[in-house]
Amino acid sequence: MKRSSLEQSKKITIILTYVVLILGAVIMIFPFVWMLLTSSKTVPESMQIPPTIFPAQLMLDNFKEAVASLPFANLYLNTTLMIVFRVLCAVVFSSMAGYAFAKLQFRGKNILFAVVLVQMSLPSQIFIIPQYQMVAKMGLANTIFALVFPGIVSAFGVFFLRQTYLGIPNEIAEAAYLDGCNQWQTFTKVMFPLTGTSVAALTVFTAVFAYSDLMWPLVVNSDLKMMTLSSGLATLRGQFSTNFPVLMAGSLLAMLPMVILYLIFQRQFIEGIASTGGK
C-alpha cells in the first residue's frame, strides 16, 4: 500500500517535470517560430486582427526585399572574416602566452600576468573611445582590420589556456626536452596538440561573442558594405520600423548560419561555452 503510493508520487514528479520542461521549451522556441511564420506573411496579413497563425502562402518576397535593402553578401563575408581572424589571433597568441605563463620561468612573469587579469576584469567599453581614435587615425575605419582590431589579443584566452596548460603534467614537457626538442618545438609539437578541447572551446566562445558584438562594429564601420550582420540589422530596424515581415526575414537570414552550425556541433557549442563560463 505504502509502496504503491510512493511509486505514484514518483510518477507524478516525473510527469510534472516533463510538463514544466515542455512549457519552458515552448516559451523558448515560440519567438523563433513566430519569426519564421511572420517572415512569410504580407504586411496587411501580419497586421490582421484577430491575427492569423499560419501565412496564407509560403513566399520569399520578404527575403528578397531584405536582401535588396541590406547587402547581405557583404555582411556574411565581413562577419566571417572578422570571426576567422579573431579566432586565429586568440588561439595562436593565447596558446603561446598561456603556455609560457603556465610552464616557463622568466623574470617579470607575475607582473605581466597581472596585466592580463586587470584587462579581464575591466568592461570593454572603457577601451572603446581610444581604440576608435587609433583606428580612425590610421585611416582604417570601415575595414575588416577595424572589425578585428580589439580582438587581436584575448586576455580571457590567455587566462583560460594557462589553466589548461597547468593541468598538463610537467613530465611530458621534460620528456620532449630530453628527446632534444627546444622550448618552441616542445610547445608546438608536444604541448599544443594536447589542448584540442580547450582550443575548440575558445574558438566557439570567441566566434559567438564576436558575432553578437554590436557596439564596436556600429562605432567603427559606418559604411553599410563594411558592417557585420549585427550592426547591419540595427540599420534595417530604422529602415523598416513597421514592416515586420521584412524585419523577420532579415533577422532569420542573419541568424541562420550560426544556428545551423550550432545544430550540427551542439555538444561542442554547449560544452565549449559552458567550460569557458565565468566570463
Binding site: 602566452a97 592580463v116 586576455a155 554590436l214 540595427a234
Partner: protein, 297 residues
C-alpha cells in the same frame, strides 16, 4: 661546475622563450587596453573639441554628470535592470537545471532548445521580441486582449527588456548550474531519503549548499554582464523612442554621449563611473558570499 653552466644556459634560454611567447599578447594588451585605459581616464577630465583635440577641464565632466538627472536615471535603470533580471533569472535557471538533472528522456533536446538564444545575436532576437511586444498588432496584446504599449509606455518598457534578458540567458546559466548539480554525489540524497527528509528539505539542506559555489560564480558573471547591458536595450528601444529615458542603461547613455553627441569627455566619465560601480558590487559580493556560499564540500 660544467653542469651548473649548462643549467644556467637552459634557464636563460627558457627565459628568452618565455618573453618571446608572451610578447604578442603583452604588446597587444599595452596598445589595445592599458594605454586606452589611461587615455579614457585622462579624457574624463577633458573636453572634446572635435577632431581628436582635447582641453583639460579638471572635474567639470564629473560635476556636470552628478548634476544631470538623465545620468542618475540611467544609473537607477541599470540597478533596476539588475534587480529585475538577476534574482529571477537565477531562480528560473536553477529550476531548469534541476529539472534537466532528473532521470528523464530527451534531456539533450531540451538543453539544445534552452541554449538556443545564446548563439543568436541579440540584434536578431530582439527584432522578433519587438514584434511580439508591438502595441497595436503584437501577438502578446492579442493573446491577453490588452492594449499595453510594451516598448513605448515608460511604465512597461523596463519589464519588457527584463523579460527578453531573462529569456536570452536562462539556457546558458542553466547549463553552468547543471554542471554544478552533476557534481553532487547521489549518496547524499539516498542517505537523506532513508532519514525521511522530503524533497523540499533535501533541496535546502543538500542541493542549495552544494551548488552554492557554482551559483555564486554564475551570479557574479550575470551581475557584471547586467551592469554593462547595452545591445539588448539599444535594439529594443531606439533613441528616438520617447520611453528611452525610462530604460536607458549607463552603457547606452555612454554610447549616445560618446558617439552620437560626440562628447567623449563626459562619455569617458560615465564609463569610469560604471567601473567604480562594478568594483563596489564585486566587493559587496565577495564580502557577502561568506554568509551563504559553502566551500567545504
Amino acid at each position: 661546475m660544467n653542469k651548473s653552466i649548462k643549467l644556467s644556459l637552459t634557464a636563460r634560454q627558457e627565459e628568452h622563450w618565455g618573453w618571446i611567447m608572451v610578447a604578442p599578447t603583452i604588446i597587444g594588451l599595452i596598445v589595445l587596453n592599458l594605454w586606452p585605459f589611461i587615455q579614457t581616464l585622462y579624457t574624463s577630465f577633458c573636453e572634446h573639441l572635435g577632431f581628436g583635440h582635447y582641453k583639460f577641464i579638471g572635474l567639470q565632466n564629473y560635476i556636470e554628470m552628478f548634476q544631470n538627472a538623465e545620468f542618475w536615471r540611467a544609473t537607477w535603470n541599470t540597478v533596476l535592470f539588475c534587480i529585475l533580471t538577476v534574482p529571477l533569472g537565477l531562480f528560473l535557471s536553477l529550476l531548469v537545471a534541476m529539472l534537466l538533472n532528473a532521470k528523464i528522456k530527451g534531456k539533450g533536446i531540451f538543453r539544445t532548445i534552452f541554449f538556443l538564444p545564446m548563439v543568436c545575436a541579440p540584434a536578431a532576437v530582439t527584432m522578433v521580441w519587438r514584434w511580439i511586444f508591438n502595441g497595436e498588432y503584437g501577438i502578446l496584446n492579442q493573446l491577453l486582449g490588452a492594449h499595453v504599449g510594451w516598448i513605448t509606455d515608460p511604465n512597461f518598457v523596463m519589464i519588457s527588456c527584463a523579460i527578453v534578458a531573462i529569456w536570452s540567458n536562462i539556457g546558458y546559466d542553466a547549463v553552468l548550474l547543471l554542471a554544478g548539480l552533476q557534481n553532487i554525489s547521489k549518496s547524499y540524497y539516498e542517505a537523506a531519503s532513508i532519514d525521511g527528509a522530503g524533497k523540499v528539505r533535501q533541496f535546502f539542506s543538500i542541493t542549495l549548499p552544494m551548488v552554492s559555489p557554482t551559483l555564486f560564480v554564475v551570479m557574479i558573471m550575470r551581475l557584471m554582464a547586467s551592469i554593462k547591458v547595452y545591445d539588448l536595450i539599444y535594439m529594443m528601444v531606439e533613441d528616438t523612442n520617447p520611453a528611452v529615458t525610462s530604460v536607458q542603461s549607463l552603457m547606452y547613455l555612454f554610447y549616445r554621449e560618446s558617439f552620437v553627441a560626440g562628447s567623449r569627455g563626459s562619455g569617458s566619465a560615465i564609463v569610469i563611473w560604471t567601473v567604480v560601480l562594478i568594483g563596489l558590487v564585486t566587493i559587496i559580493q565577495f564580502v557577502g558570499q561568506k554568509k551563504w556560499v559553502n566551500y567545504d564540500v
